[in-house]
């Protein structure tokens, strides 16, 4: 009973935020429908969201045939659609953890994007080196390399914050841009292979993630979701996790208790980087090589995932499934309802907006403010103006 109430208290605001975001998205789709349909189409959001659901799960309620819309309920999920959702959700679980674990320690890791790039790049280089080794060894080594790359790129803002007080938000924003610029140069000038029409690194060969089910349901999905219980155990069942949570909730209390905030800052941001690096490794080892221009939005999406999931590993997994489903369903929506896939980013941003305006939502929906909201968040941007740690 108690746990049910806790789940309700934790999830009610995220659920309202999702519903409101979909509603505002629907209004936007209606208002912009003259541009694609030639007239105001009040039913367009229903078509769009239905296609989104079908693309993500295979479940469908209506049959679209140019002009006629007929009711055709098919509740059988399609394996391929669900696989697509899992494939899209897997990296989001990891980038969500990369932000969420940071929140636990009162740190805002905006550097997911850069850590994904560096992790993916490391995985690609090491993967190409071990391409001829037996698959189990090659895959393991390449994935570990990606995790290490991300961790190193998380270590930098951690060490800078711990020893000089440079705020991690600005440093990680700068490191994101820097990683993009540097890796494009490195791939173009040093690691490019001859042959393909575009600049990319060598094939990772045996280090490519094995496909275990469906067309592309690969090992990465299992790795990503396996991190959920691991992260949970780490945060709630180990001494390190306790220290991380303490320093996030009350840095001075942590210091009085003999914990070293410096050590925790460095460790936490490295850990965040490790998760994001794993996400990069999974993306790149699924693709099979690192393209010079690797535009990825999974790093930034991790912020929405972490906030929607309340920085809790289970919540993060659920949020990643939701956003992953949207990403998987978007192409079908674009085909069937003629709606640009960018609407997904708008909805994602709107979810974040309503989460940020939590106080207003609580007031509007008369939800009592139970003290389950993550307190750690309170310290994040408050520390922006502080000097050295």
């Amino acid at each position: 009973m108690k746990i049910a109430r806790k789940i309700y208290a934790l999830s009610i605001v995220p659920i309202i935020a999702i519903v409101l975001a979909l509603l505002v998205g629907a209004i936007l789709i209606i208002l912009s429908s003259p541009a694609s349909q030639g007239q105001l189409d009040l039913l367009l959001p229903i078509k769009a969201y239905e296609a989104l659901l079908e693309g993500a799960t295979g479940i469908s309620f209506i049959d679209l045939d140019r002009d006629a819309v007929t009711l055709a309920i098919s509740l059988v999920p399609s394996t391929q659609a669900l696989t697509n959702t899992l494939v899209a959700a897997a990296p989001l679980v990891l980038t969500g953890l990369a932000v969420g674990v940071g929140f636990k320690a009162g740190l805002f890791n905006i550097g997911g994007t850069g850590q994904v790039l560096v992790g993916g790049f490391f995985a690609a280089l090491v993967g190409a080196t071990v391409a001829q080794q037996p698959a189990p060894i090659a895959v393991t080594v390449a994935i570990l390399a990606g995790a290490l790359g991300g961790a190193l790129y998380g270590f930098i803002p951690g060490a800078l914050k711990a020893f000089t007080g440079a705020h991690e938000v600005v440093v990680t924003i700068m490191l994101n841009s820097l990683a993009g610029i540097a890796i494009v140069g490195l791939v173009n000038d040093i690691f490019k292979i001859t042959g393909p029409t575009f600049a990319r690194t060598a094939d990772v060969g045996n280090a490519a993630l094995p496909v275990l089910f469906g067309r592309d349901g690969n090992l990465g999905i299992f790795i990503a979701f396996a991190m959920v219980p691991i992260a949970y155990f780490l945060i709630y069942r180990t001494t390190l996790g306790f220290e991380i949570r303490t320093v996030g909730a009350n840095p001075s209390a942590a210091r009085y208790a003999g914990m070293s905030p410096r050590r925790l800052i460095i460790l936490t941001l490295s850990l965040c980087g490790l998760f994001a690096g794993l996400a990069g490794a999974i993306e790149i080892l699924s693709l099979g090589y690192y393209p010079a221009v690797f535009g990825t939005t999974i790093g930034f999406a991790g912020i929405t995932v972490a906030l929607l999931g309340r920085s809790h590993p289970v919540g993060i997994a659920l949020a990643a499934l939701l956003l992953g489903g949207m990403r998987a369903g978007a192409p079908l929506m674009q085909i069937e309802a003629d709606i640009p896939i960018e609407i997904i980013d708008v909805i994602q941003g709107l979810i974040l907006l309503f989460l940020a305006a939590e106080v207003v939502i609580r007031r509007a929906f008369r939800i009592r403010a139970e003290t389950v909201a993550p307190d750690e968040l309170q310290t994040v941007s408050r520390s922006y103006g502080e000097g050295s740690a």
């Binding site: 800078l160 600005v170 841009s177 540097a182 791939v187 930034f300 994602q348 941003g349 305006a357 103006g385």
Partner: protein, 362 residues
């Protein structure tokens, strides 16, 4: 002078200095730097307005992008409605361009209202508020741009051509060339920077702003309305972000592409920190950052003579991409160095990021 270039090692330094002086004095490097620095400087002014009064703004990128899109669309609509409008003598301005700039400013202010409401009234986490703005701006402009597929264009503002006699003057002629061979938005930047610098440190408004940014409780005690002042500053700051967006689609380019701000908003944030939260300093930071970018272009088109040129073209031949990108990497590296306090610490206003709650009003 040439013999200096042949000295061992030291000669290399003289070659670099010689090339820089020549490039700055005799080529278009200076005006180009100023033009490229315009959106960075304007974005940074927005950042200074926000952060000096205690509000973090990492949403400058999104504000710029929204303004660039809205300004462009408004200009296209007006130019379709009145295709016969003649460009006037003032920078070749057409009604379309003027409406575009005003729309961009309006868009910048509107997005700022959202940021102000979230950060000041709702007391949401200000970094999350900025992230919201960046994500929604990228998604919404991308969505609408793909949906509408604007075909036309309203053109761009012309650059002013200062009279030859003025440019040929010694020393001041160079300054005239740098500051006057520009479009209207670029030219306005220098005015804004000076005015804001003076206002921030010499006016009642400036004193109040700084007080609210450092110690809002104390400012409140002596009768400053902290909430109102923060609202005003954040919304007025949106004007600058809006102008930066207008520069992108109405002065520099004549079209809109998805995500065309290309991290300029984040470089602006870097310029704010680099310039220690002062308008002049931020402007200097923007100039320095973009000088690096412009110098990269200049060296590519006109490599320096002597050993230096051989050395540089050697690197360029072996590592073209890394070589070119290193010029764009400078802002990020410098900002991290400055933040880490390696060359003098840059300290943010004390109350930045902290929402203000009036005592007893909880």
């Amino acid at each position: 002078m040439e013999f200096l270039y042949d000295l061992p090692l030291l000669g290399f330094v003289f070659q670099i200095v010689g090339y820089l002086i020549n490039a700055i004095l005799n080529t278009n490097l200076a005006p180009q730097t100023l033009a490229l620095a315009t959106p960075i400087a304007l974005g940074a002014l927005c950042g200074v307005m926000n952060e000096r009064s205690g509000v973090v703004n990492i949403g400058i990128e999104g504000m710029m992008l929204t303004a660039a899109f809205v300004g462009f669309m408004a200009a296209v609509v007006v130019s379709d409605a009145m295709p016969d409008a003649e460009p006037n003598a003032f920078f070749g301005g057409t009604p379309a361009l003027v409406v575009g700039v005003l729309a961009a400013i309006g868009a910048g202010m509107l997005v700022s209202v959202l940021h102000a409401w979230l950060s000041i009234s709702v007391r949401a986490d200000q970094i999350i508020s900025g992230t919201v703005i960046n994500i929604i701006a990228l998604g919404l402009t991308g969505y609408l741009n793909r949906l509408i597929r604007p075909s036309g264009s309203a053109g761009t503002f012309d650059s002013f051509r200062p009279p030859e006699a003025l440019v040929d003057l010694p020393i001041v002629g160079w300054l005239f060339n740098m500051f006057l061979s520009q479009g209207p938005i670029t030219m306005s930047v220098i005015v804004f920077v000076i005015v804001l610098q003076v206002l921030l440190f010499r006016s009642r408004w400036g004193l109040r702003t700084r007080a609210v940014g450092e110690h809002p409780r104390a400012a409140d005690t002596v009768g400053v309305n902290v909430i109102a002042l923060r609202y005003r500053n954040v919304i007025l700051g949106g004007i600058f972000a809006g102008l930066a967006g207008a520069w992108l689609t109405l002065e520099f380019n004549a079209s809109f592409q998805n995500g065309m701000t290309a991290n300029r908003g984040f470089i602006a944030l870097a310029a704010v920190i680099f310039g220690r939260w002062t308008p002049i300093g931020a402007f200097g930071g923007a100039l320095l950052f973009m000088f690096s970018e412009a110098l990269g272009v200049a060296i590519r088109s006109d490599p320096p003579p002597g050993d230096l040129g051989v050395w540089l073209s050697g690197i360029q031949a072996s590592y073209p991409s890394l070589y070119n990108n290193s010029f764009s990497a400078l802002p990020y590296i410098l900002t991290i160095i400055v933040l880490a306090g390696v060359v003098g610490r840059s300290v943010a206003p004390a109350a930045v990021g902290q929402p203000y709650v009036k005592e007893g009003a909880h």
